[in-house]
Amino acid sequence: MVAYVARRFLQALPVLFGVTFVVFLLLYVTPGDPVELYMGQAGTVSPEEIARIRQEFGLDRPFLEQYGRFLWGVVRGDLGRSIIHRRPVAELIAERIPATMELSLFAALIALLVAIPVGVIAAVRRYSLLDSVGTLLSLVGVSMPGFWLGLILIILFSVTLRVLPVAGRMTYGTGLDPRTGFLLLDAVLQGNGRAALDVLRHLAMPALAMSAGMMAMTMRITRSSLLETIRQDYVRTARAKGVPEPRVILRHALRNALLPVVTAVALNLGALLGGNMVVETVFAWPGLGQRVVDAVKTRDFPLVQGCVLVYALTYVVLNLVADLSYAFLNPRISHGKEG
């Protein structure tokens, strides 16, 4: 098991290498000079000043040298310094990760808590009213652009009803000391109930806006996967042997039906972590998504590279988790046959 995990990480190295190289190449050939963009469309800036900053950040070097320096930095645990923020990239990323993870995990939690039970019921009571309503609602959820749903939630809960805060992660004045950056965890650790409630109130709308897509996807996959499993031989056998129906579904069918669900959830979590730029923007959520959008727009090469590297690592880890749980749930797939 440990050897398997280690092997998978070794196998991931070329992927990470490939990702960083492609990013580097794409950024290098994409038009747009970070220093010019940094200086903005205002005032007088001398060519000497621009040249000096380019030199300070090594942007005047040839492509391969820049990439080599970047790799050498990564090996030493140094992701370089942001051109715009002029601070170490590692710091800029680290301070944003808790916010993004907290939001994504919360969204995933909401999605799973709703989607799996509804999916099971929809499959078991196929074509019933519950099935149709569940299907329709999940489809409505997945059919709305995230920012549109977010804006509607804001208008409803913040502006009209005034029950939830519009944006941000917390209100000033609850006495919360953000030590880990996971504010809910911080509030609980510090025994600050008021702050915990405040954090939850801030989390509610963005998490809901983000969970809609995953909820629908998970529900549909649970449903279709369970339907497929239910008609397999061993389920029929179990049923024929007189095993009670709930037991057939939960013991025999669901376990196997969860295989594709697990894959989808793990991949979806990756998508949540990497695809929440829009929701983060709407709710002013200070996560990695906002950071990478800004970094790409300003061509902050070191910051973009750092962010993409983190996304790639996240993907590798989640993928490993998906495969491990896949193997765990389906004894017929052994580790030896994987990738």
Binding site: T30, P31, G32, D33, E36, L37, Y38, M39, G40, Q41, A42, G43, T44, V45, S46, P47, E49, I50, R52, I53, E56, I84, H85, R86, R87, E95, R96, A99, L151, I154, I155, S158, V159, R162, P165, V166, A167, G168, R169, M170, Y172, G173, T174, G175, P178, R194, T281, V282, F283, A284, P286, G287, Q290, R291, K297, T298, R299
Partner: protein, 510 residues
């Protein structure tokens, strides 16, 4: 008071502050701003919002009033003792937020940190260019400092509001990185905390010297606490304003002003900004190499109509690219809308049957671009609009590969050279029309370096503006107003043209 009592008192204070009664117990003014500060080090950024936030914790030698005058702040007065030497007499009795007295040494430190290479974490300050001809500063005594420039630089005071003075003792003690995270300044508010990406919190500095005497009231700030909350999305910012979460919202687009005004608790305050808008033409390629065509374009655009309908009336038409707020503005009569004259000019230039052209722009100019394209079609020019990512467009423009660019350029110092040079001098980084005029360049040189006589400078810039007007390398459009959504509870605050949000004089009523 023993320790238990002190703890109880602290507890009671914290409770009083936190249990809903913020408004009664401590006045907290919240500003919704569209971007977080990049750093809290006033020497290490080029970023509008960072400056907006920092100027509440730091002061400069001089500052600019909402109506654009340069007035003393940390300096009590100044004089130019030679074409390249300026002496500033500093205000006495000013203290840093940690209680240390402010002296000429701090000014010298700030200037050197800005203009000398490798002074901030081994890198050079990106604000060096804002002080450019300044090469050094010398403390003459505890409260007198001399600034030395490499060439005569008449506009120096206009550039100084953007150089905020930092504390030598503190920066040297804690280092650049720590200073950027938890700064000490001389401004009306002192740093409390920075939740990156979310908010910067500051509290009133009781020992504040009072600020610029030309900007009453003088004295400590009126509110107890100020929070700059980061809300990048416009609709979110307005929603927060309507929900009462924030009291001032920056950058309200003209279209959304009715949105804010519809709420009886809110109002909109506008101020003429410092960004000049224009439609640049590539003067090195046909058809725009012909000045008659360029003038025709100027006549073909109904600037007033666009201002009325697209900009809700919140813009001032300009005859060239200088703002009416610039001290050297020449009140020429703009071209004005005259489609017949435009068609006639096009015909005499040999383009009676029109031509095809693409207007390149960025998304925030989309509406204006579409309307201008429509107006150009009226005079027979087949105009299309293309939107770009700025990083890509800028390179195309500088390479002279595009024909028409709709955009704007900031001039927060309101000094003519600070916009005429980048936009119209040969080979400069903002010269997207490819314009090149020896006469114009000689005039700018005369005004900036050749003389110290204000009247000669004025004349030079007057001639320069007439020249730009006649050559028409661009269609001249407007200077737009910038609007803020403001809660009616806020009193005593006015927006500034240079996007400073000076909360020193602001107060909150109930």
């Amino acid at each position: 008071m023993n320790r238990t009592q002190a703890q109880l008192l602290t507890l009671a204070l914290v409770a009083a502050l936190s249990i809903g009664g913020l408004a009664q117990q401590a006045k907290t003014l919240v500003v919704g701003i569209e971007a977080d500060a990049l750093t809290l080090d006033p020497g290490n950024f080029r970023h509008r919002e960072t400056e907006t936030i920092l100027r509440n914790m730091f002061d400069g030698l001089v500052t600019r009033t909402p109506d654009g005058r340069i007035v003393p702040e940390l300096a009590a007065s100044w004089e130019r003792i030679s074409p390249t030497e300026w002496v500033f007499y500093l205000r006495d009795g000013v203290t840093w937020h940690d209680g240390t007295p402010f002296t000429a040494d701090d000014v010298v430190f700030t200037v050197e940190r800005t203009v000398k290479e490798g002074r901030i974490s081994g890198l050079t300050s990106p604000r060096k260019g804002l002080l450019d001809p300044v090469t050094d500063a010398v403390a003459l005594d505890r409260l007198t400092v001399k600034l030395i420039t490499s060439v005569p630089f008449a506009a120096l005071p206009s550039f100084l509001p953007h150089t905020l003075i930092v504390p030598r003792h503190y920066v040297e003690a804690v280092g650049d990185e720590q200073f950027a995270a938890a700064p000490v300044g001389t401004g009306p508010f002192q740093f409390v905390r920075w939740d990156r990406g979310q908010q910067v919190v500051m509290e009133r500095y009781a020992g504040y010297y009072g600020g610029a005497t030309d900007l009453p009231p003088v004295g400590p700030a009126l509110v107890d606490r100020v929070i700059f909350r980061v809300l990048p999305e416009t609709s979110t910012r307005i929603a927060a304003l309507r929900a009462g979460d924030i009291h001032i919202a920056t950058r309200i687009p003209v279209d959304l002003i009715p949105e804010v005004e519809a709420d009886p608790n809110l109002t909109v305050m506008s101020v003429r900004g410092t960004r000049s808008a224009f439609l640049e033409m590539n003067v090195n390629q046909p058809p725009f190499d012909d000045v008659r065509v360029r003038r025709a374009i100027n006549y073909a655009i109904d600037v007033d109509l666009i201002i009325e309908y697209i900009l809700n009336g919140l813009a001032t038409p300009i005859p060239t690219i200088l703002s009416p707020d610039s001290p050297f503005y020449a009140p020429l009569t703009p071209y004005g809308y005259d489609p017949d004259k435009a068609r006639a000019l096009l015909a005499t230039a040999g383009y009676g049957t029109g031509f095809s052209v693409t207007i390149d722009t960025q998304p925030h100019f989309r509406d204006v671009a579409l309307v201008i394209a429509e107006m150009l079609r009226e005079v027979g020019i087949d105009a299309k609009v293309q939107e770009w990512d700025w990083g890509i467009l800028q390179r195309e423009l500088l390479a002279g590969r595009r024909m028409m660019h709709l955009g704007d350029w900031g001039n927060s110092t309101l000094e003519p050279n600070d916009i005429l040079i980048p936009k119209l001098v040969t080979g400069e980084r903002g010269n997207f029309s490819g314009y090149s005029s020896r006469v114009l360049e000689a005039l700018i040189d005369l005004a900036e370096r050749g003389t110290v006589d204000p009247e000669v400078r004025r004349q030079a810039y007057r001639v320069a503006q007439q020249l730009i007007f006649d050559d028409a390398p661009m269609a001249f459009l407007w200077v737009a107003q910038e609007s803020y959504g403001v809660s009616r509870r806020v009193v005593g605050w006015t927006p500034s043209p240079d996007s400073r949000i000076n909360l020193h004089d602001a107060d909150l009523t109930n």
